[in-house]
């Protein structure tokens, strides 16, 4: 069975994560589209911590007999991986856009100089 302390601490920590994310959105330090995965992480972990029977049942489904809270680790790690992978795609897109911007800048700068010479 899951120790009661694990459930209490886990629930508080997960809810704290949700609150911090919401606060970051409110103060515009985090865009909603990047916050969704974090919110999902916090909510799912909070539910799993608070709903003790559910955690035990899920643990049994996936073959964890000795220590049900191991499910929390697995789910937590899974979400962190998802967030990191998502960030990698975001970084890839940003660097593509960065390349495009640099190229356009070089082309525009040259165009500007050509136009400038023509006007003189």
């Amino acid at each position: 069975m899951t120790p009661i302390a694990v459930s209490v601490v886990g629930t508080i920590a997960s809810l704290a994560l949700v609150l911090i994310v919401l606060e970051l959105i409110r103060t515009r330090r985090l865009r909603e589209r990047y916050a969704l995965l974090w919110l999902a992480t916090g909510i799912v972990l909070a539910v799993l911590c608070a709903w003790r029977d559910g955690l035990n049942t899920i643990a049994r489904w996936v073959g964890i007999r000795s220590y049900p809270p191991a499910v929390l680790f697995a789910v937590g790690i899974l979400f962190i991986l998802a967030v990191l992978l998502h960030y990698s795609t975001v970084i890839s897109r940003l660097s593509d856009q960065n390349v495009l911007l640099a190229q356009k800048l070089a082309l525009l700068q040259e165009q500007l100089e050509v136009d400038g010479v023509r006007q003189q």
Binding site: V99, A102, Q103, L105, A106, L107, Q109, E110
Partner: protein, 239 residues
């Protein structure tokens, strides 16, 4: 017919002037655009002194991003033919006629100068690089369905169709190998012609021994993933 030479250059103030003069010797009517890939030396200034157009990238993009800038310029300014001649002097402009010939004859959309078609003369590179080049040639030949001997050559000529493709989509980092596969996936016609290349006269090559390994892995990954990418054939309107 509007023709342009695309010259990528990164910290090549020593070489770029001579490259420009040699291109002009080959054909005085060829417009020359030098892409200064975020150099910290006077590459762009030297290029302008020699009468070339210089595009200055605000920071270093790497060879793929630099070359693509040149192709974008060629595309936007309606050039019909573009050749790439690297600013480090390894491509010999006096051999440009060989590379351009298949394009002018309408036999190909892209022509690549290969060092190994006829066991290219006078080119020495490190052993690891030779093995890498050999292996890549094997893989690429298999995928493309014709014999490709020099997958890493950037000495190439393109017609309007090729320019349009590369202006829109060009691989990063070490682009030539992926570009070869890309060209075949887009059903453009490509050929190899025999050329010889020169040793760098000064400065250092951007590919070191350690990077060759990264290069191989990255390029192979890009090729195999690229094979599962939806095939985009350029629309008629853009070419």
């Amino acid at each position: 017919m509007r023709r342009i030479a695309v010259v990528p250059a990164f910290n090549e103030q020593q070489n770029v002037g001579r490259v420009i003069e040699e291109i002009r010797e080959f054909d005085p009517d060829l417009d020359i655009v030098v892409i200064d890939d975020g150099s910290v030396d006077a590459t762009a200034a030297v290029a302008r002194q020699h009468g070339a157009i210089a595009l200055q990238l605000p920071f270093n993009l790497g060879i793929g991003g630099a070359v693509q800038t040149g192709f974008r310029y060629a595309f936007e300014h309606d050039y019909d033919l573009a050749v790439r001649v690297d600013g480090d002097g390894q491509h010999d402009p006096s051999q440009l006629d060989r590379v351009i010939a298949p394009i002018l004859a309408g036999e190909a959309d892209i022509a690549v100068g290969s060092r190994f078609v006829e066991d290219g003369d006078g080119y020495r590179s490190s052993r690891s690089r030779r093995i890498g080049i050999r292996l890549l040639a094997l893989v690429v030949s298999r995928i493309v369905g014709r014999r490709v001997t020099d997958t890493t050559s950037g000495f190439q000529a393109l017609n309007r169709k090729g320019i349009a493709l590369f202006a829109r989509d060009y691989p990063h980092d070490y682009p030539e190998v992926e570009a070869t596969v890309m060209v075949s996936r887009h059903r453009l016609r490509s050929v190899e012609v025999a050329v010889s290349m020169r040793e760098r006269s000064s400065g250092r090559s951007s590919i070191t021994a350690l990077r060759s390994v990264y290069y191989m892995i990255k390029v192979l990954l890009a090729i195999f993933v690229g094979l599962f990418r939806r095939n985009v054939v350029p629309e008629e309107g853009t070419s």
